[in-house]
C-alpha cells in the first residue's frame, strides 16, 4: 500500500508563504465534509512556517521550517480521541472527523507539535488534512506543495519500505524525533534549523588583506573531535552542524606558519569576529 509522505527541504525555503496562503485558499469558506469543514478567515496555521536567525552580523544566516500536521504513525491525537474522532486513513493521512470531534478542545492540546487549532466559532479542533478531499478526487498533491515555487516541498506516495530507502539515501529526518510519534513529514537539511554554526573572519597585514586559504581547525575540548576548513577569498569561514550548548571548543587558525588560537564556549551559533594573523 502506497502511503503519503511530505518531504520538506528547509535549505530551499525562503518563507514566500505560498503554502500557508494556498492552504487558506483551499479551506477558508469551503466545506470539504467529511474531511474538513471551513477554516476561520484568520488565526489558524494548518501550515505554519517557523523561522530562525543564526549567528551574528555579517555572517548570520536564516532558515525557515514549514510545519504542517505530521500525520504521525503513532499519533497522540488519535490516542487522545479514544472514540474515532481522529482516525488514520489507509494512505496514512490522519483526519479529525468534523462531526465526532465537535467540542473536543482537548484534542488541540494533545498534539506535541501544536499542529491542531481550535475553531472557536464552530467549537471544533481542526488541522491539515493533506488535502485528502483533493487526493480522493484525483489531485496528485496537496495545495501546499503544488504552490511551492522553490522546490522546498515534495509530496510522494510510496510504500513505507521505498520511503525508508529515500530517508537513508537523502539523510531525511524528523522534526523533534524525541516526540517518538513517527511522522510522515520528513525534513532535509534540518541541521540548518536545529543545529548551530561557528563562523569568523581571518585577516593579515594589520587587517588590510584577507587571509585567503588560512587553515581553520576546530576541536571539541571534551571529545577531542576535530573539524577543519579553509578561509575563503574574503577570509571568511563557517562550519555548521554543531550541537547547541555543546561546551568548550578550541579554534586554531594558521597561514604561512603564523598561528592563533583561542577557546570559546558554544551555546548557539557564533561569529568569532576578525582573527588577525
Amino acid at each position: 500500500m502506497k502511503k503519503v509522505n511530505l518531504i520538506i527541504d528547509v535549505a530551499r525555503c525562503h518563507d514566500c508563504n505560498n503554502c500557508f496562503i494556498s492552504c487558506k485558499d483551499e479551506h477558508w469558506d469551503n466545506d470539504h465534509s467529511p474531511i474538513a469543514v471551513s477554516q476561520p478567515r484568520h488565526g489558524h496555521r494548518w501550515m505554519d512556517i517557523l523561522n530562525i536567525e543564526r549567528g551574528k552580523y555579517p555572517l548570520q544566516d536564516v532558515c525557515y521550517l514549514p510545519k504542517p500536521c505530521m500525520h504521525c504513525e503513532d499519533a497522540p491525537c488519535i490516542q487522545a480521541s479514544g472514540d474515532g474522532a481522529v482516525y488514520r486513513r489507509e494512505d496514512g493521512i490522519v483526519i479529525i472527523d468534523p462531526e465526532k470531534a465537535a467540542g473536543r478542545e482537548d484534542l488541540a492540546a494533545s498534539c506535541p507539535y501544536g499542529a491542531i487549532y481550535w475553531n472557536e466559532e464552530k467549537k471544533l479542533p481542526q488541522k491539515c488534512t493533506m488535502c485528502a478531499h483533493l487526493l480522493d478526487q484525483g489531485w496528485e498533491q496537496p495545495r501546499c506543495s503544488h504552490s511551492c515555487a522553490t522546490g522546498a516541498m515534495e509530496f510522494v506516495l510510496l510504500e513505507d519500505a521505498e520511503m525508508q530507502q529515500r530517508v537513508e539515501a537523502e539523510g531525511l529526518e524528523h522534526f523533534h524525533p524525541e516526540y517518538k510519534t513517527r511522522p510522515r513529514v520528513w525534513y532535509k537539511n534540518l541541521f540548518r534549523f536545529t543545529k548551530c554554526h561557528i563562523a569568523g573572519s581571518v585577516a593579515i597585514d594589520y587587517g588590510l588583506e584577507c587571509a585567503v586559504g588560512a587553515k581553520v581547525t576546530i576541536t571539541h575540548q571534551k571529545s577531542g573531535e576535530v573539524w577543519t576548513t579553509l578561509a575563503n577569498n574574503y577570509g571568511n569561514f563557517k562550519l555548521d552542524g554543531f550541537e547547541k550548548k555543546s561546551g568548550k571548543y578550541r579554534i586554531d587558525v594558521e597561514l604561512n606558519g603564523i598561528t592563533k588560537s583561542c577557546v570559546f564556549e558554544l551555546t548557539e551559533s557564533i561569529n568569532l569576529g576578525v582573527i588577525h594573523l
Binding site: H14, N18, N51, A149
Partner: protein, 857 residues
Amino acid sequence: MTGEKRLTNSTTGGPVFVDVKDGKIVRIVPMDLREEDAASWEIEARGQTFSPPRKATITPVTAAQKSLIYSPKRLLYPMKRVDFDPDGERNCENRGISGYERISWEEALDIVSKEMIRIKREHGPAAILSTASSHHLWGNVGYRFSTLFRFMNLAGFTYADHNPDSWEGWHWGGMHTWGFSWRLGNPPQYDLLEDGLKHTETIIFWSSDPEVNNGIYSAFESTPRRFWLKELGVKMIFIDPYFNHSAGLFADKWFSPRLGTDAALAAGIAYVWITEGLYDKEYVETRTQGFEQWKAYILGGEDGIPKTPEWAANETRIPAREIKALAREWGTTRTTLAAGGLGGWGGACRSATGNEWSRFMICLAAMQGLGKPGRNIWSTTQGAPCDETFYFPGYAEGGIACDTGNSAAGYEFANRMFANARPSSNPINSPSGQHIPRLRIPEAILEGQLEWRGKGFCGSAIEAQFQKYEYPAPGYPRIQMYYRYGGSFIGTMTETNRYVKMYQTDKLPFAVNQSIWFEGEAQFADIILPACTNFERWDISEFANCSGYIPHTYSQCNHRIISLQAKCIEPLGESKSDYEIFAELSKRLGLWEAFTDGGKTELDWVKQVFHATDLPKGITWEEFLEKGYYVVPNKPKGSPSTPAMQWFAEGRKKDTPDWGPMPHDQVAMEGLQTTSGKIEFESSSLKRFDPNDAERSPVAKYVQSWEGHHSPSYNRFPLQVVSPHPRFSFHTMGDLKGSWLNEIRDHRVLKEDGHRYWIIRINTQDAAARGIKQHDLVKVFNDRGEVIMAAQITERIPSGTVHSYESCADYQALGKPGESPDRAGCINLLTPKRFMTKNSYGMASNSCLVQIEKWEE
C-alpha cells in the same frame, strides 16, 4: 469536482485557474500546463540540459486573491461624505473625519457628472485632475492606460503623471551613460539566461532581491534558474543593506554598505581594477568614451582624493580588505552584474545618490567587457528563450484607449486595434497640454504653482527629461476636481502627510475616489464609487507582459501564457467594473456612443484585442473562450541566440529584437543611442545640458547623500531607513483589508489591541540601546511625522540602518489626520519629498533619517 467549473484569470503575480461553484470562487490555483500545450524550451550548457517545470508560478499576493475579493473592506455601494453638499456647504476641511452615508448609483453618478459639466463650463476640462495608483488590477482592457484613459481622454482632464518610481536612477542617471531611453536607461536582457548558464562564473546581486520582487509580475519563474546556476558552481555575492531573501537562499557572501554609499563602494572597486590592471583595456579603448576623465576622478587627480578601498571603507563601513577581495574576484572571473532585481531597478536607484549608483553600475560592467560571454548586466529574471515575433501587447500598449502620447500604443498596437477607427487621445494629455507630477499633487493644490523638468516617464529621447514644465500650464486652469482612482499614495509617495493635508482644504473643491476597497486615500473623498476586481469582469492579458518601457517583458516567464480573464463571479454588492462606471458616467456626459464605441461590452473589447494580436494564428476565438489560455510556441530549435549587448561588444549591428535605438539616434544603424554611440564615462548629454551640475556631473562621481550620515540632522535622527518595494503586497494590493497576507509573520505583527502592526527591522544593538524588545511597538519619527510600527530585532541589518517595506495600504491617524501618528504603517510619511537632485525629478525615498523609540500610548 461536482458542480465546479474551472475558469482562467490573471494577476500581477501570475495567471491562475479559478474554480467556481454556485456563483462563488472555491479556489485560485497556479496553472499546470497540459501535454498539448506548446513545448518548453531547452538550454544546453556545461554538459547539461536545462528545461523549466511545466507550470506557471504565482506570488503569495496572487495566492491570497480570494481573501482580497471577499474582503470585509470591499466597497459594496456608492457613498457620500455626510457633510458634503455640492449645492451648499462642502466642508472640505472635514475630509477624513466626518464619515459617509450610502447613496444610490443614480445619485452618485448625477453628482459626479454634474460637477464635471459645471467645472468644464466654468474652468475648462483641464481643471479636472485624475490619476490611478501605480498598479491597478491586471488586464489589458481594464488597465489604467486603457479604460481610464479612454474615458478621461474623451471627458477631458489633467493627468498626474507617474514618476518612474522603480527606475529613478537609471532614468535620470544611467540613460546618460548609455542611452536606452526607450527602456528608461535600464539594460536589455535578451537571451542572457543561456549566456549565463553557459559562461558566467560569478553573479553579483547589487540592490537586487529577485525572490521578493519577482523581476516584475513574473512570480517565481526565475527561481529554478538561480538554483541551476548555484548547482553549476556559480558564485553568488549580494550587496544590499538588508540580508534579503534571495541572499538568504543563495548568498556565498553578503555586503551591507551604509545606505547611500553604494557608489563609493563602486569607486573603490574601480580603483583596485585600475591600479592592479584588472579590467578590459581593449573594450574600454574601443567601446567607451571618456574613461580617462573618469580614471582621473577615481585616482584622485581631480579632487585630490584617491578613491582607494580605504577611502571607500570609511564611507561604506565595509572593510577595505573585503573591497579589495571583491574587486579581485570580480576582475578575474567572468562576472555578471545583477544590478537591481529586473535587470536595472533596485532600491539603490531610489535615493539621493541613485543616479550615480546606476551610472557606476554601467561603468563597472563596461570595464569588465559588458556584452562579452558571461559578462553583462543581467538579474537572472529576464532573458529566457521566447518567440518575440509572436505579437501580443502588454498593458502599457494602451488597451482600448491606445493613447499614442501616453502609452506605447503607437509602436504597433494602435494600428492593429484601431486600423479602421480612432484611438483615444487628448491634447491636454500631451506634452503641450497641462500636467502635474504625482509627487507634487499636494503642492499643485495647496500652492497652485509648480515648475519642474520631464513629463512622467521620459522615454522618447535622452533629452526628454530636460524639458521644462510649469503648472498651471500657460492659459490652463487650476485644478477644481480630483477624480482619483485607488488610494495608495499615502503609502507609496514621499513625505505623504502632504497628501492628507491636500484633501483637507477647499482649494480642492471636489474629490471623487473610485476604488475597490475602503482604504488609504478613499477615506478623503466626497463621493466614493465602488469598483470590482478583475475576477468580476472580462479581460485578456499575458503573464508578466507590460511592454512599454520594458519591451518583451514576458522573457521573464518560462512559458508565454496568454489568458482570457473570465468573469468568474458577478460583481459583489453594487460594485461595478470600471468600464461600467465610466459607461454610466458617459451617458450623463453625452459621451456614451463614443466611450463604448457604439455599445461594446467588455467582452466585445476582449474579442477585439484578441483579433488585434497574433493569437488567431494559434487558436480560434471560440477555442480560446473555451480553454481560457494559450501557450505561445517557442522559436524553432536551433534558432540563433542573440544575447543582449553582444553585438555592441563585438562592434556589430544590433541583432536583438529590441525597439531601439531608433535609426535617427544611430549612424548607419550602428552603436548605442548616446551621441558617441559608445558607453560614455563622460556623458555627452549631461555635458550639453549642464556641465556644472555638481550633483549630476558629466563624469559619474560619488556624491554624498543630502540625507545621510554626513547630514546635520544625523545627530537627531541617527538611523537610516531603507524602504524597498514590499514582499507580501504588490504596491498596496495585498496589505490589510482582511487579507490572509496580514498573518504572515514577516509582514505584520498582531498585538494585544487586535491591530496588526507594520514591521520595522532593527539591529540587535540599536534595539538594546533603546530598550526595545522583539515585537515591541515603536514610534518611528522625524520632523515629517510619526509612524507606529512593531520592531523586528535582527542581525540581517547592521547597526545604524533600519528596514521597513514601503506601500502600507491604509492610513490610520491616531488623532487629527495629517498631524498625528499613523498606526497603519506608512513609512513614506517620513521619507523626503525632495527630488533626487536639482535636475532629477525623481523620488529619493531611500535617503531618509529617523529616530526610533519605544511607543507607549
